[in-house]
């Protein structure tokens, strides 16, 4: 495996199997160093969900991870969120080692995971409540966000009165309400139809442009990965590992028109090549 050295403004980083050389000028928002994850199945056998992986994400950077099922991308995200511990290696968030869930991290899940007995507003304010922050201070922020997300007038509704896209917008709002530095998104739009998905991609970029959080988003969709990202991390399954990282040099802010542009298709083609060869015949569970 050749050493791939993508250069980023202000930082040089190298990713390779087995060893990792990470040199970064500023402190990265997310630093994954030689992390592996091995599961023990119910029958006692060991399964490598994630082979030795290293990755650095700069403050304010939008990185997407694309890979087939079982490539360990969700596992990696869970370890970053602090709900899963790595078998070996080290994970740092803004310079501090991750030893559990962190207030600096907002997580958006594949399904919105709203609590059906809470109104939209109360779902949005759940993090505020859990972290015992003063509700009054976040009320204006919540209302402001509802307006931004086109959920004006829905604050007293219950989740089952909302469409799937609206529910996911509440889910994203909940992850943003207490202004976390890092946003982790695990296939957030995979349950939505294609039209809603495009709309949500645009929405996400708009929100991201407003406050430039560090975003790490996992997806199955190559066009989505390219459209959103500063960098696309390609992972392969069994065991999960990083195969390639692409710098996406497309102008921002991006509109849907770039999807048909030549550079965009170039990136998409290059990324797709990995899947045609490497994931033939691999389905299986989503690790």
């Amino acid at each position: 495996m050749p050493l791939k050295v993508p250069s980023i403004k202000g930082a040089t980083l190298a990713i390779a199997q087995g060893s990792a050389i990470v040199e970064l000028a500023p402190r990265p928002a997310i630093l994954v160093r030689d992390v592996t994850k091995t599961y023990r199945t119910r029958t006692g056998e060991l399964v490598d969900a994630l082979a030795k992986t290293s990755l650095a994400v700069r403050e304010g950077e939008f990185v997407t991870i694309v890979g087939a099922s079982g490539c360990g991308k969700s596992t990696l995200l869970k370890m970053l969120a602090g709900t899963l511990r790595p078998s070996s290696g080290e994970i740092m968030l803004r310079g501090a080692p991750v030893d559990g869930p962190n207030r600096e991290v907002g997580v958006v899940f594949q399904s919105p995971v709203l609590l059906p007995w809470r109104t939209v507003l109360d779902n949005l304010l759940l993090p505020v409540e859990i972290q015992r922050r003063p509700r009054d201070q976040y009320l204006d922020r919540a209302r402001h966000y509802l307006k931004l997300a086109g959920l004006d007038g829905f604050e007293a509704k219950y989740p089952n009165e909302l469409s799937g896209g609206m529910q996911q917008r509440v889910g994203i709002g909940r992850a943003l309400i207490n202004d976390p530095a890092v946003l982790l998104m695990d296939e957030p739009f995979s349950a939505l139809d294609a039209m809603t998905r495009e709309f949500m991609n645009l929405e996400l970029l708009r929100i991201w442009h407003a406050d430039r959080k560090t975003v790490l988003l996992v997806t199955h969709s190559i066009p989505e990965a390219v459209f959103l990202a500063d960098r696309v991390v390609v992972m392969s399954p069994r065991p999960g590992q990083v195969v390639e990282i692409y710098d996406i040099d497309l102008p921002r802010p991006r509109g849907l028109d770039i999807v048909t542009s030549e550079p965009f298709s170039g990136y998409a083609r290059a990324i797709r090549r990995h899947f045609n060869v490497e994931t033939l015949g691999s389905g299986g569970r989503n690790a």
């Binding site: 969120a81 869930p101 609590l115 007995w117 759940l126 859990i130 972290q131």
Partner: protein, 273 residues
């Protein structure tokens, strides 16, 4: 013609809207009327099967000229107090068992063993321990109402979806917050089914207790009237008991609809007992 042309008369829409209730009432009228008629025609002995009219008269007399209201109050008190104690014990114990697997392995087997004893068989013992007053009946009722609430509480507290719990964990929620903000709300539909089963069983518990030995109550009255061959009187009490059971059941259903309004359907609620 007082109606405007083209509009459906009000009485007709009323009939359409209340079609099912009307059918239900009609069924009752036909059944009771048929019963009365058959009793008259075939001269059924009132010692075997009293006429509905005789039952109605007995009810009226019992309430307005007799002490039926007092006996009703005694049974009602035993039912509610016993249900309250049993349900509360079931809730608290269920809460602990669901939270601590060690308790489930050590305590729960004994609870199940206790549940297999017919509570009727416990009644004589409880009456010897606690006397012929209401307290023994309250405790018999409590032992009956306890288990369905306990079983449903345990199942309900474990029904919370893993993704909701994980979501709360990523928000840095502690164990207690997860318990109150997800586990308890998710358990409420199950608990209310347990309470529903429990309250109906509680009426049975109170009556069974009174059968074994009592100085007052509707069960005591049934035995008294049975001995004096007052069949209409016995049936009158059955009517009261049925009305009481339905009333208590509807009360729980009302609470259920208020508390778990967010459930789309009741397909995945379990029943215990």
């Amino acid at each position: 013609m007082s109606n405007k042309t083209g509009t459906v008369p009000l009485w007709r829409t009323w009939f359409v809207v209340h079609r099912e209730s009307l059918l239900s009432v009609l069924l009752f009228v036909v059944f009771v009327g048929g019963w009365e008629f058959v009793n008259d025609v075939f001269r059924v002995s009132p010692m075997m099967l009293p006429k509905p009219s005789a039952i109605a008269v007995s009810l009226w007399d019992g309430f307005f000229h007799g002490d039926l209201l007092w006996h009703f109050a005694v049974t009602f008190y035993e039912t509610i107090a016993g249900f309250g104690i049993g349900a509360l014990t079931g809730l608290v114990l269920g809460g602990f068992i669901a939270q601590f697997p060690l308790l489930e392995r050590t305590v729960y087997p004994y609870v199940v063993a206790f549940q297999t004893i017919p509570k009727v068989a416990l009644a004589p013992i409880l009456i010897i321990w606690l006397g012929f007053g209401t307290l023994s009946k309250v405790m018999i009722t409590a032992t009956i109402a306890f288990f369905p609430v306990l079983a449903n509480t345990i199942v309900g507290l474990r029904a919370a979806p893993a993704d909701q719990i994980e979501m709360l964990q990523t928000l840095t929620a502690d164990r207690l917050q997860i318990f109150w903000k997800v586990r308890v709300p998710q358990a409420l539909p199950y608990i209310l089914v347990g309470l529903d089963v429990g309250i109906v069983l509680s009426v049975i518990g109170a009556i069974v207790g009174e059968f074994v030995g009592a100085q007052a109550g509707l069960g005591y009255m049934i035995l008294q009237r049975d001995l004096s061959m007052d069949m209409a009187g016995v049936f009158a009490i059955l009517v009261i008991l049925s009305a009481m059971g339905v009333g208590l059941h509807l009360t729980i259903r009302y609470v259920q609809n208020r508390v778990v309004f967010w459930m789309d359907n009741d397909a995945n609620r379990t029943t215990g007992a």
